[in-house]
Symmetry: C2
Subunit: 339 residues, 2 copies
């Protein structure tokens, strides 16, 4: 165990494990009866009749996936939202999550209170509840692991595989804002307007999982494949193509951009490649049979979320990105890999 | 990211994230159709009709919960078994697990292969499958997080709460072997026989989750409360008493001991307190209405697992441990707390 620090000796030191759970985490489980206020070793949960479970897990480490000085509530909310985005891409309705947290000796009571406040805020927003977990100490950096659980009508979950040559490729919302938001946080483009800076950092720190739209698309049965864009548009399209056993061609200039991204791109045309490979978008990437494209546009229109057709799936084995002249774009960096 | 190490530059270096998953983890998901060979972001699972889910999560960090030089297969198997023990205490049948692993730069391909081999072995033994997870790199020590999932007939899960004054307190198997096994691994009692040493270290490294017996007890409906002994017999009895809103009294000399533990105790009588507070037993601690005691003995007898009556629940607010003269035993250290 690492030595003591200021936090451990101050009034802001964490209490013991059981008191930490009681004070910060048990209130987050209040809406999940089977969690028994985290006084038991396990949570019970009965899915609605006819629904199957959808389960996904992610891990995050301080200094790798987020910065030690990032606000704790935003770290918590992004961690939850990134997992909810995976559920959204399956068409699942989120239910709850289990979380393990390994705290180092710099973590204070006020940090943890802020972290729990962030979770509470997004639990209300997305109607999910803490179902269980574990709190331990680590001599290394703060580490988080989250398993998110949702439900979907049995057999109806959207998957990566299933795209067919000729299917149209759509993406929701705008692409590249997460990448730009991270760069703004790293002090790039200091002359960018306050409004644009705020918009981009919000998109990076608080992605919006497309849960309602994902459910509608699942219910309509019109997507042959779906995933959320986390590794970057190009890399994730590659995942769909690979698992579906086909290829894809998209037109880079069709990439839907926010006003802030378009503004930056107008000054730095080379940014386009970064926007489509940068990742952290958490938009839905969908393949849709041509005859269902109008239905998708109708559903998205009702949800108030733009969808953009980028190209189509092909029977080649590769993903091609075309520039505005129809020439292949050189994509040297296909998606950010934390690993 | 931490600097490179010998492992990262040798032939034994880990491959990239996707290849690591394909090579070591995808085979562990082969028996879980909804995991799609880990080529998707999430796993689907439909519980049997009438069954509800039981979910539990644990985290482990190298140098805190296990030693960096512990055999990787044993680290993996203990991690899985400890979680299965939580399911056993609920009377649940295990289904599978999601696992996140944060590897540091000392982790080699052969370490991970050995780790996966251990998981594969216990997956066969306990009929569970990998359902998903995440593999990341950390600048800190190797960190593991596991969410285990089981099912139980809806509403029938055994819980910590529910014990009533007058209920008899039983424990399965023998107590203290895990504590002694850890000390043997730390080179205590070098004169102990090889057979005893082997038995004790096995009990520490490869606890046996009481899954079948837990299911039988759940099905018989005879336990008013149950949990597995991980923090130590005294501390865990305290958890049952606290969540059930009552007290307990047990007789320390009734503690069931293995031959190895009895041998050591005969030379060091003061060890008894360590055995009942040491933890890492993974036996079932049960409260049973007096009229159902014979039924419990019958079920345990059929399962070939001894059960021992330790005392009874009381209407006081405290847990009392009595010595062979009926005097209160001084328990200064009530259970090992990693936190």
């Amino acid at each position: 165990m690492a030595g003591s620090s200021q936090a451990e000796t101050s009034e802001d030191a964490l209490p013991g494990e059981f008191e930490t759970i009681r004070r910060y985490f048990a209130p987050l489980a209040a809406g999940m009866p089977g969690a028994l206020d985290l006084t038991d070793d396990a949570c019970t949960y009965l899915p609605p009749a006819g629904e199957e479970l959808v389960l996904t897990a992610d891990a995050l480490v301080a200094d790798v996936h987020f910065l030690r000085n990032d606000p704790a509530d935003l770290v918590a909310r992004k961690m939850l939202r990134v997992n909810l985005s995976d559920l959204a891409a399956k068409g699942a309705k989120p239910v709850g999550y289990l979380m393990t947290i390994a705290v180092d000796n710099t973590i204070t009571s006020s940090w943890l209170a802020n972290f729990a406040r962030g979770l509470a805020e997004d639990q209300r927003r997305f109607d999910v509840h803490l179902m269980g977990g574990d709190t331990i100490r680590t001599p290394g950096p703060l580490s988080l692991s989250l398993t998110a659980i949702g439900t979907v009508p049995a057999g109806r979950a959207l998957r990566r595989r299933g795209a067919q040559p000729g299917d149209l490729i759509f993406v929701t919302g705008t692409i590249g804002d997460g990448y730009l938001g991270l760069r703004v946080l790293r002090a790039d483009w200091p002359d960018l307007s306050f409004g644009h800076r705020q918009f981009l950092t919000d998109r990076y720190q608080l992605p919006e999982p497309r849960l309602a739209l994902g459910r509608e698309i699942m219910a309509a049965g019109i997507a042959t494949a779906a995933m959320d864009v986390s590794d970057g548009l190009v890399a994730d399209l590659g995942h769909i193509a690979e698992t579906s056993g086909c290829g894809a061609v998209i037109h880079a200039e069709r990439t839907p951009l926010s006003g802030a991204a378009a503004d930056l791109l107008s000054h730095e045309p080379d940014l386009l490649v970064k926007l489509i490979t940068g990742g952290d978008d958490y938009e839905l990437l969908l393949t849709i049979r041509r005859e269902n494209a109008a239905r998708l546009r109708e559903i998205a229109g009702k949800a108030g979320i733009p969808v953009t057709e980028l190209g189509e799936m092909t029977d080649s084995g590769s993903v091609r990105i075309l520039d505005r002249d129809g020439a292949p774009l050189d994509i040297s960096q296909r998606g950010y890999q934390h690993f």
